[in-house]
């Protein structure tokens, strides 16, 4: 199994059908991707509760921490997309021999900005994905 280092990983946003990489990214998180279950416990069964896959999958949420610049093309696009939501593809490229890329369709975007005395202006961008990644 290849051990992937974080450096070299890029996250790109599709703007009018072409992908542009986010600049000044500090961290990327893709979380919550999981198979969903249904309870199958019955009175006739043992004491341990039982479950089975219900055939559905919870899609992941993507969270990006980055330095924030409202004049940057991608940052400005994200703000626009919050105001006028449209499903938008986001591509994450991992550096390994390949490289391997995954495309997520994002249904919603969110931005939390942080402006403090001693730090640069930062933002946490959250994206709810929809459907199977490709």
């Amino acid at each position: 199994m290849a051990i992937l280092k974080s450096k070299g990983t890029a996250i790109l946003v599709s703007i009018s059908a072409s992908y542009t990489a986010m600049e000044e990214v500090q961290s990327i998180s893709v979380s919550g991707h999981k198979s969903l279950s249904m309870p199958t416990t019955s009175l006739a069964g043992g004491s341990h509760m039982t479950k089975a896959p219900n055939g559905y999958v919870e899609t992941p949420n993507i969270s990006v921490e980055k330095l924030w610049d409202p004049a940057n093309t991608v940052d400005a696009f994200i703000k626009t997309t919050i105001a006028t939501p449209v499903a938008t593809n986001v591509k994450i490229t991992y550096t390994n021999s390949g490289p391997t890329s995954v495309i997520y369709s994002c249904a919603t975007f969110g931005v939390d900005e942080s402006i403090s005395l001693t730090d640069p202006v930062k933002a946490t961008i959250t994206m709810e994905t929809s459907g199977a990644p490709s």
Binding site: A17, S18, Y19, A21, T73, T95
Partner: protein, 145 residues
């Protein structure tokens, strides 16, 4: 409006007009699917208000393309130095160069990015940088003696 791509640009072919979608090349993925991209050096040209024209301006703005006519240059409104700086920032973002030291080395032309093993790919100034570094270290040792 006219621009020339200065790097590989990935695209969603479903969202493109047919004539631009046909210019995309496939990049096979490990799962057997293809991701599509426009190659470096490709020219995007179109009248104002057309998809290609808007795209030429958009990609010049992000730094992924170099404006190639007076109209596009005027719309972007950057000096050549500013446009070059944006191009470099765009390249670093696309190559996942986040470390501050590596970013400085990239901007100085010492490295071109990372290979599949995440080792630095030497840039045009690689030899000069390492020679200068070695000389500085030798000088420091001499001064200490």
């Amino acid at each position: 409006m006219k621009a020339i791509l200065n790097q590989k640009v990935y695209v969603d072919t479903m969202g493109l007009p047919k004539e631009l979608a046909l210019l995309a090349e496939p990049e096979p993925q490990k799962d057997g699917t293809n991701h599509w991209f426009w190659p470096r050096g490709m020219v995007i040209e179109g009248d104002a208000g057309t998809f290609a024209g808007i795209k030429a301006v958009h990609l010049s703005g992000t730094g992924q393309a170099d404006p190639a006519d007076d109209e596009t240059i005027a719309i972007i409104g950057r000096t050549p130095e500013e446009q070059n700086a944006q191009r470099v920032r765009s390249e670093m973002a696309a190559k996942g160069i986040w470390d501050k030291g590596d970013r400085e080395l990239y901007m100085a032309g010492v490295i071109l990015g990372y290979d599949a093993d995440l080792k630095s790919i030497p840039g045009p100034n690689w030899d000069a940088y390492h020679a200068a570094r070695e000389q500085a270290q030798t000088q420091t040792k001499t001064e200490e003696i």
